[in-house]
Amino acid sequence: MASRAKNSNRELRPLEKTPTGIPGFDEISEGGLPKGRTAIVCGGAGCGKTMFGIEFLVRGALEYNEPGVLMAFEETPEDIARNVASLGFDIQDLANKKKLFLDYVSVEPQEIAESGDYDLEGLFIRLQSAVEAVGAKRVMFDTVEAILSSFSNTGMLRAEFRRLFRWLKDRGLTTVITAERGEGTLTRHGLEEYVSDCVILLDHRVKDQISSRRLRIVKYRGTKHGADEYPFLIDERGMSILPLTSLQLQHTVSNERVSSGVPDLDEMLEGKGYFRGSSVLITGTAGSGKTTLAASFVNAACRRGERCLYIDFEESRHQVARNMHSVGIDLAHWAEKGLLTHEAWRPTQFGIEMHLLRIHKFIEKVKPQCVVIDPITNLLNGSSDKEVYSMLMRLIDFLKVAGITTVFVSLTSGGSDLEQTTVGISSLTDTWILLRDVELNGERNRCIYVLKSRGMAHSNQLREFVLTGEGVKLLPVYVGPGGVLTGSSRLSQESRERESAMEQQQALERKRLEAERRRLTLQAQVATLQAELDAVEKDERNFDREEKKREAQEKRDQDALAKSRGSKSEVGGI
């Protein structure tokens, strides 16, 4: 085997890295394990050390075409093969294809007597022949310290360990060795003093009966790396470590708007709704209609033909579907069409990181445009605020980078400040819609307002939130001399107003009728007088006529008299 020893001026070149292929690990280590060097993976029993190493080998063989050698000291290859088969790794098949070489190194101290000087050349011979057999680039020792308990000559062991790691380095083999964690030290037998390029610490802790796994890169010489404790999980697809994407505030944003699913709410958000890819927080007390609002959003998204993922920590899929049916939202229909993936699991089922990794996995599987998480507050069960905060921050970043519009539902418990989210994530979200109950006159009514919405001139109005058979309706609340009124108070105020208006109208009507009546009376009087006038005029005309008749008669009489007297006067006048 050709020696591919690093030349002495390697510090002039950036450290080369070998990707492990373990989801998330290559991100936090900025490339993987140091190429051609040895990394220690240490931790207590059952923390996933072996898993890490095996996945390193398997993914190397499958994804990077780098064959590997597994030197197993504790378990036989058959046992290991069985153990990792449940994670989807067929190492026996890889061994048959000469992509992996399995060597079980049996060390049984009680069988061995010592007499004089010896060394571990046998191990080197086995390792060399294994590396040559498959052309290995990767090696894993699990757990090499098993050797330590088998031999009493510690001086020889120290020298042999040094020789082993130098041997691996000289051949450019990227190596993972697993080691038990010791009391107050990273490894029980102080392996880190031989290999100090990269030390990875795995931890498996149980808090409130919920287990969680953590990974931390304690040391990584010559490179920067994430130094935090990163949660990881081992599931049917192997190991995965959060963050799946690193935390960076560099996501691009969209100006596109998506409907909230409630036209009246869209109206409050400039008439357009949320920004696509933004994160929306719906907070409210119990029963204030948070889920309905979130379901409306899903309904609208599915109607647009977008894929949605609904993560539920409270109700089962069927229960939500039934409940939403009562307000005219048919979620089951969208699920049948394949647009809606509704996943529900108990918040106490896993630790916080397991939840978020599951969410990640579903997002990767479904590739949704819209995601609803209902409610995030339930994630608090079994985790501290701080943990939830950092997890949600990672999740929100991940969703934003992916351009996914997300609705987070958060339950505000009664008594606490409404404008304070339990986990303080409001600053991470772009739009915050607050649902609250207003108690008045022996009833509770729902109110909604947009507490904040970045980048838009949102309404400052408080609206009444009403659930109808046709979905959510927002009504303008009654604002009057009596204050802000909702529910039946608003209704009664409105009816009072209607009554007084009616009364006024009736009074007016009465007055109008009165006036008409008086007009009619007067008109009647006018008619009577006119008739009298007519009669009088008629009489007058009769009197005139009789006068003329009498005058004519009188004239005729005078004429007749004159005639008779006129002849006499003629004689007399002679």
């Binding site: 010896y118 571990l120 050349e121 046998g122 022949s129």
Partner: protein, 113 residues
């Protein structure tokens, strides 16, 4: 690989394998020490097989050899292993279960004789 049989009259056969890696000082010392011990102790039939793992690396895996040199008593069962250059004669004798066996065997030997 070289065999080094030393036939004796006993029916019991002790089979010893010495695993070495090349002609290192430790290996050579082990071979020499083993021969001395055997010559001075065994009265029954024994065979010594020196296995050079550099020539046949697969045997290291098949026989679970880790330390070099390793002496394996493959017969009689149970198998026992002694590692080192065998410079501590006492340990070899104890390890190979010779001393305990010797009085018995010598008895049987005398009986036989």
């Amino acid at each position: 690989m070289k065999a080094n049989p030393k036939p004796k009259s006993s029916k019991k056969v002790v089979e010893l394998r010495l695993y070495v890696a090349g002609q290192t000082p430790k290996s050579l010392a082990a071979i020499a020490n083993l021969k001395n011990i055997c010559a001075g102790t065994f009265e029954e039939e024994y065979r010594i097989l020196v296995v050079d793992l550099l020539k046949n690396p697969a045997l290291a895996r098949d026989h679970q050899i880790l330390a070099i040199p390793t002496l394996v008593r493959s017969l009689p069962v149970p198998i026992c292993k002694i590692i080192g250059d065998l410079s501590d004669t006492e340990r070899v004798i104890v390890g190979l279960d010779i001393r305990k066996a010797k009085p018995e065997k010598s008895k049987s030997k005398t009986h036989h004789a």
